[in-house]
Symmetry: C3
Amino acid sequence: MIRTLQIDAAKQGLHDITGEVSNCVDQLRQEEGLCTLFIQHTSASLVMQENCGPSAKRDLEKWLNRLVPEGDPSYTHTLEGADDMPAHIKSALTATSVSIPILEGKLALGTWQGIFLWEHRYAVARRKVLVHLGN
Amino acid sequence: MIRTLQIDAAKQGLHDITGEVSNCVDQLRQEEGLCTLFIQHTSASLVMQENCGPSAKRDLEKWLNRLVPEGDPSYTHTLEGADDMPAHIKSALTATSVSIPILEGKLALGTWQGIFLWEHRYAVARRKVLVHLGN
Amino acid sequence: MIRTLQIDAAKQGLHDITGEVSNCVDQLRQEEGLCTLFIQHTSASLVMQENCGPSAKRDLEKWLNRLVPEGDPSYTHTLEGADDMPAHIKSALTATSVSIPILEGKLALGTWQGIFLWEHRYAVARRKVLVHLGN
């Protein structure tokens, strides 16, 4: 079973999609399995991160923004704006796909673990994440 | 089939878990398939790395410790100690899940390839890695 | 079904392997499924990246080469040459495995999304990527 999630992630940063993915798993009604997420973009990515409070997420975003700054004079891929090339680099450093086992009918996440879409651009209307549910 | 590995990774750095994962694959008794690992934490991660001698692992650890240092004045998520926020960042830069094909009943690893749990914190009693074995 | 791709990636940088992977999916003749790639090396990796024009790829390569330079005095794993340790670090920061859903018999890639083997060394004859095709 494959589901397509349409995520409104208009703001740069981490967007919690654990609820949307869990809903897909609930529809599967299967005790055990594997849930694989795939994001159909190269300027947004997936990351598993602490879901408890905003500080870890905020520090993580700030840190990566500093590692991959806008306006690097070495960039030549700049037609779409200052956030374009940093977005591609950030995507390459994080995940395009993540697989999470299903146990007792639920995503087998750790206690503090959430699933996040990491939007690296400023103004994108909608992102697509495919959810593959297998045995 | 899903198995839970409990890994004692009390020391910061790379811990070879290839043997533990191979044992799970042996129990499956299946010629072909896919073995997917998922770590249930956001301050430890998974990495495939050279399994021959300690120098590549040591250099890799040293390099990442320098890229993501403790005591960065921009961190606000510091309640659990100086190793807390660097651990979350290092986890985001490496893998939470990895999938390895099974061929002739064995993990189809490259000659020099090992599976490592990368512990990013100093003193954690035990880490959980789920092993999903599918067709 | 598992196929082995032999990729000639003699030059450092991103090599588009979308066509080779699509060929494997075509042979499967299955409407829905999951295609998982696994690279059997620790000095080359996989990355999903923009497939339109060379500028994003070139900037990405240049950026990572600057982040992980050759000749870092802290490296001890230097026996195989100046490109050896940077290759291991770059591999750890990018992906060893990627899973892509199959929809309507095709890889469900985004419009601008290509699959790349990222060769991190200078002179390697051939790389092996395993393609697992499942339900």
